[in-house]
């Protein structure tokens, strides 16, 4: 699976996301909106971590863990493929 499903996701400024293919909807927080936007742009998980690490006062390991957990949720919801949820070593 590619990021096609994720790219179809309509997200408004308040973080409400609507999948027009299934009719399902989700709520995203500020960071979730940013992660999805970067995934849609084709950024890797490591690139996303680097960008967010500069922006937020946090530990890199905790940040990586949170992002990995979030993309795992996206994968479970069928919004991204298994390969998109794996962080290269």
């Amino acid at each position: 699976m590619s990021l096609n499903t994720l790219k179809q996701l309509a997200i408004n400024d308040s973080g409400f996301a609507f999948n027009p293919t299934t009719g399902k909807s989700y709520h995203l927080n500020e960071v979730g909106i940013k992660v999805i936007a970067m995934l849609k742009q084709g950024k890797t998980l490591n690139q996303i971590s680097e960008i967010l690490f500069k922006e937020y006062d946090t530990e890199i390991d905790a940040l990586n863990q949170d992002i990995d957990f979030f993309v795992m949720q996206l994968q479970n919801l069928g919004l991204i493929g298994v390969e998109d949820a794996i962080r290269p070593k």
Binding site: A10, G23, S25
Partner: protein, 362 residues
């Protein structure tokens, strides 16, 4: 706009099914769709019960007639049509209830003689979409239908080839989930008493349910379709909220069903997409759904299209609709006077003046 009805204001259009409330019928949103298309002619409401709430809406029908139940036979039905014609002309009838569609199909020629046009499927098309035919007609054509068995005796649950949970369905209407044989037996007796035999046992497909409102041209082509996912479901299983979705696979599936059936007129498909992304056809309702107002909201005024088609006017197929458009249904109290209902019950008809002047009526 191709579906503008401005230029048809000399017409009288009759629409049935004015019940709203907990189990709403499609008549009210169909009339609203027709009016939304600029129709300024006469609207007649056809009802079976003097308490159908749409009767009492000020801005809906210009007059309302009480119809005999279709089970009373087509002669009584036609007699009432003639009675209506003694009061007003009718150019088009849009029937909206499962139980009456076949009567209108059978009376097509008689109605034509009286100058009344409809846009309905043939009797053969109508029968092919019957619950008893779905699982034999469609699977050989590559359209999946859940495993279905037809039962005339509760003992047949002992030899059921499908696994629980199942849906136990009435021959005409109603569907309930059964998780075991004991529940299924109880439902068998309930549905047998209510709708007669056979009672239908159908494999439950685990997945997401979708509904599609559409119009077929009778030659195998889709003229318009809008799919929705239910957002609010009442304890009666009725969708009281929904959102328009855009799913190419679902669009293709609906087109194939219409192509195979060569369906003419309005209908609603009920489908489930399972976890393997396989689409199953659950039911075909031979009329517009009660949520058809959503289709107009999403850019396809299907009731207005049916008016044009009934008149024999060629229309271009509508291919676009807006995903994300949603509806939420509400109900409200309409204040009227018992004499308005009494008048309809005794005279079989009401004029708009009587509906709107209810305060003076008693």
């Amino acid at each position: 706009m191709q579906l503008d009805l401005n230029s048809h204001s000399n017409l009288t259009i009759a629409v049935s099914g004015l019940k709203t409330g907990d189990n709403p019928q499609p008549g009210v949103p169909i009339i609203r769709g027709i009016k939304k298309a600029g129709f300024e002619g006469k609207i007649i409401g056809l009802c079976y019960d003097a308490l159908e709430a749409g009767i009492y809406l000020d801005d809906l029908a210009d007059s309302v007639f009480l119809m005999p139940y279709p089970s009373g036979g087509s002669e009584a039905f036609l007699e009432r049509i003639d009675f209506i014609l003694s009061k007003t002309k009718i150019d088009i009838i849009i029937p909206t209830l499962d139980a009456e569609i076949l009567t209108y199909i059978k009376l097509e020629k008689e109605l034509e003689k009286r100058g009344i046009k409809t846009f309905l499927p043939s009797e053969e098309q109508f029968r092919l979409r019957d619950k008893s035919k779905l699982n034999t007609f469609f699977p050989p054509k590559g359209i999946l239908v859940p495993e279905t068995e037809f039962l005339t005796d509760e003992q047949q649950f002992n030899d059921l080839k499908i696994n629980y949970p199942i849906f136990v369905k009435g021959s005409l209407y109603d569907a309930y989930q059964a998780f075991n044989q004991s529940e299924a037996n109880k439902l068998f007796h309930y549905l047998k008493a209510k709708w007669g035999l056979p009672v239908i046992a159908q494999q439950k497909v685990i997945g997401e349910e979708y509904n599609i409102a559409l119009v077929g041209d009778g030659r195998g082509h889709m003229l318009g379709m809008v799919p929705q996912k239910k957002l609010v479901i009442t304890d009666k299983g009725k969708g009281f909220g929904g959102v328009v979705i855009k799913n190419q696979k679902l669009d293709d599936f609906a087109k194939k069903v219409v192509q195979e059936l060569k369906w003419q007129g309005p209908c609603e498909l009920e489908v489930i997409i399972d976890d393997n992304d396989e689409i199953y056809l659950i039911e075909i309702n031979p009329r517009f759904p009660a949520w058809v107002g959503l289709a107009a909201g999403a850019g396809q005024n299907l009731p207005a299209m049916v008016v044009k088609l009934a008149l024999g006017i060629e229309v271009n197929a509508l291919t676009e609709y807006k995903p994300g458009v949603m509806f939420v249904r509400h109900s409200e109290d309409i204040i009227s006077n018992i004499s308005v209902m009494g008048s309809l019950s005794t005279n079989y008809y009401l004029e708009k003046k009587e509906i709107t002047d209810h305060e003076k009526n008693l």
